[in-house]
Symmetry: D2
């Protein structure tokens, strides 16, 4: 950490800065430039006190030079991590295709959609039982009944399932029915929920918040890892921007950006990122080419009757076409979508 001293700081102030650095257990290293004095602060930047350096009178700027996350960092774990969801491997060359309807609505829809996505090559089934809705008057999900349906259909088609958990009080219940816990964008900094999922023994699918930087996303992953759960898969799903023709702005560069800093797998969710079925196939293709460890897509056999987010779902035949393209690109990239061993 580096402290830049104000040009009008008094000698007493500078002495007080140096003394404070020492008091907090760091070693100060002073150097005087033409127009500014600089104090290098040698020691562990993760100490909680460092955030207050900028409040010491006479300090003009504070520059951190170390990353604030550890367990999530590439420096902590050099090779790419793979996360297993049931038998499905995500990361290190093995791609996930997580597909299904936005919400679990009833057995029939779930069954129909699962049949189609399984046939297309999806390897993990999704469906929401607890739905975070902007309006209190919108469909809030089927709750435990939805979890049961999701589990049953997943077993029927031999696919592990993932579903969102919104409340720390739901974690135990959801763990009983699902193979992976999803933390939604709105809860990326719901720290109590992160901690609770960090204590669960299920892998976690952590979505980037709508105004979260890549660093914020990795810090939220760190919350889960710090509780002992090593199985975190990150999801880029778009952030808020001024562009008003898409629901969010998909930050595709987050894929290589995360991979440079972290060993954790990262997948892309173009359904929520764009909100537009006409853009989803191109963004899935781009994700694979960018090096993502998988894709997350909503599929519905009758979007106009869906109980949640129908307009952003692909139709089953669109999904099948898409998978053909994605397999071709995966091959060109030297990786492949995970598939069960042929018998």
């Amino acid at each position: 950490m580096i402290l830049v001293i104000r040009p009008d700081a008094t000698l007493e102030q500078i002495d007080h800065v140096i003394e404070t650095v020492r008091e907090l257990g760091f070693t100060p290293h002073v150097s005087r430039g033409e127009s500014r004095t600089i104090v290098g602060v040698i020691g562990d930047e993760a100490k909680p006190q460092v955030e207050n350096f900028s409040a010491i009178p006479g300090v003009e700027q504070v520059h951190r030079i170390l990353k604030p996350f550890k367990l999530a960092s590439r420096e902590f774990h050099k090779p790419d991590s793979a996360v297993y969801v049931g038998k499905v491997k995500i990361g290190a060359g093995s791609l996930a295709m997580i597909a299904g309807p936005c919400a679990v609505e009833n057995y029939e829809v779930m069954d129909t959609v699962a049949k189609y996505v399984k046939a297309g090559g999806a390897n993990i089934l999704r469906g929401g039982a607890f739905k975070p809705r902007t309006s209190p008057y919108a469909f809030q999900g089927m709750g435990e009944d939805g979890l049961k349906i999701l589990k049953d259909v997943g077993q029927k088609y031999d696919m592990p399932v993932v579903t969102e958990v919104m409340d720390p009080r739901q974690v135990d219940l959801v763990c009983r029915y699902t193979d992976m816990l999803q933390i939604g964008a709105r809860n990326m900094q719901n720290f109590d929920l992160l901690k609770e999922c960090g204590k669960a023994n299920k892998p976690v699918l952590l979505k980037r918040g709508m105004s979260a930087t890549v660093k914020d996303l990795l810090m939220s992953a760190e919350y889960i890892l710090a509780e002992g759960n090593k199985d975190v898969v990150l999801v880029e799903r778009g952030v808020r921007s001024f562009e008003d023709s898409t629901r969010n702005m998909l930050d595709m560069s987050a894929v290589p950006n995360v991979k440079g800093q972290s060993h954790l797998p990262i997948i892309v969710d173009p359904s929520h990122a764009t909100g537009r079925p006409d853009l989803i196939p191109a963004m899935c293709r781009a994700s694979v080419a960018a090096g993502a460890d998988g894709v997350h897509v909503e599929v519905h056999n009758c979007p106009e009757k869906a109980m949640s987010d129908g307009p952003q779902a692909l139709l089953p035949h669109q999904f099948l076409d898409l998978m053909g393209d994605l397999r071709r690109l995966a091959t060109a990239m030297g990786c492949e979508f995970w598939a069960p061993p042929e018998k």
Copy 2:
């Protein structure tokens, strides 16, 4: 609601649109323009199904024309609402000054800061016992011990107290010690927490999320109101932007924007919005002049030793100076900071 039909839609598709509108209990009203056919949808836009209109084949655009919130709306309740926190009235011409340290650290600091802010004219005391921190390694708050200190100091200085609640499981506990529940920016769309606070019989201070629109903020207020709790005070505290010299971007126009659409009081928190003590006084003054129902400011007697967000706190003497300016501006605006009746 208005549906714009694609120029290449078939007659069958248009018939299907009209039929679907009827099926869902709405009345369709068709008009043909030079280049587009339009279907007016007459009925209650709050019905959950309306979101799927854009998924009906042949529909190009959907324009909502009604607001998605009701209880929070100015149309539902024409006059300005006032919310009481203990004896303190917020709204309808009576201004709140919520001040205190970011976190409750110990009795001494809380007592010292409370003495100063009370003397300056603050009417509600704040201090966090549960702290939402980006890093799992940062100080997470004193928990119940902090709540006790906050309550004791509030009673000593005859000030109601407000503190953040982060987890639905904490609501009961926090209610025992505090006069107002704060929901932080990161939890603005933590819907289970909103519902739980909506069931509590304490007023709620709801902060705008970092990527929330004004409409999103009002929808989150609607969650609380819909559970029966009428006492919601909104807080503008800045949103994420590309400007990198301030912590967030204070959206000052949210004050009149909210007031035009909603009867709820709204205050401004320049401490979190700017993160810079040098900008806080000017932004407090602007808030009062913009018509806000109060201000929320962090104050600390020794920011460099604060356990959380020290660098954004005002010093006690800065707070005193500020209050002088704010009182003068409040008078010019025809309103005043709530103060206990003189004995």
Copy 3:
């Protein structure tokens, strides 16, 4: 266009709205819903007067339903357009690889970089002679001397060249030396420059502004097309966002988004979008997979000595590796980088 009337509008106001619509040459079409009256406005939305409808007393909302651009629209010209730069075809399955240093610095660097990028398969050479720099104290470009070097080197390697034009007064001069005019992000809404380039008989490379929506970009293209120049290639080069680890945020979805609305080719510039060489290859790959008509990359043989934007340039060997990947992906996508016919 649809006008939504305020619920408290008087009958006189509604009559005045209808009369005004007629006066301006449109046909009004009134329908009354449960809570709002709506006036459909039938006629040409491109008439300048329409922007004032929202200023008529009693009007609450105005919803446009037609696109504000014409010549750039897919409806105006259904098939993909191809643009020729010298012999190089951009669009309709033929991909551009525009490469070179940020600025023309001297003959030697230009020659060295051109040799490498030509060998790698670049088909258009770039280099700036007039540089838009944030600081007045930074290198502003070599001007006409740079144009001469660029032209000479382009001829030596049989590559058409593109360079930026910043000032309407420079258009004639730049046209004498270059095969394509580039309009930079900062000038995307420099309307006099757009008009001047619209009168030139050279193709135009139009970069998206840092806060431009996709619609804004297409409107700026419309300015050029409206002057008679049909050869416009759009460039996605990132927009401003809160993410602070990349220079801008690459909006990859702009590629299919533009292609859905417009017949014009669009390429991607990951150098300016990310500002980070470690992210450029992945973003080039993603661009090809997303369906872009080409890529724009800065290459320098000694980035640390570059006179402009060195830190975002690829090294020659990185460029060679990248082209191998891109050719493989292009094949998987059923398109190819334009290359001169083998002799």
Copy 4:
């Protein structure tokens, strides 16, 4: 400037970094921390070469510690600068009220609006003769005929006038008719235009670009100052954001933010910032309370017939009411709107 070395940098790389720093005329100052080596670079950060430090192999991060602008900085000129437009003083306690229609449309409208705003206390008259319009099909302004009308009406009411200049070729013409040159938001980084206005002997009203940081704005002012023109007034007019209920997001904190770093006056334009007449009065009041040196407001006697931006104009009587409020707040702030000396 501070260079942070990569943890895996070789000794040769570190030596090369140090050598390069020396070669460029700076003094290196090396210090080794627990996990990173740091090289302080002592010398003038404004040298163009510094931007390339991050391209030297082995360099992980570059932290600038000095501001990149000089003439615009508070360090260069400690007291607040005042700028004179005709007799009107802007800055140092004297407030501007710049008012008028968006565009000059004809003599009658200009005369009517000028009469009203003069009566209300406006001290500078505005009106556009060259209009930057998103659409090539929208009204582009009256050109020189508009300039003549503006000048005539300004003289009739004894008000200096300001109008926008969009093209470097127009500067001489515009200077003949106007007392102040306005550079619009879209041209804030039209560097050739900045230079041309820097050579003119008229004060310049420089609007913040829609995606410009405060630093970017000050760098653009620096372009004008560096050409010898000392009379620059900055304008905060809102930036692009995800909030879709206002045209832009007014960054009110830019006022004290600029004042802390620069001696130049800054005013606020809530008309363009919000695009909503219902929000303009509150934002004008907030601007005065925030310490702005004035306000810029569009006024039109018949917004529904305005040829440009009618929907964002105040009506004359709204303007009169507003000025009453603003004078009261200015008094509370210890400053006043400039007014001609009473005879």
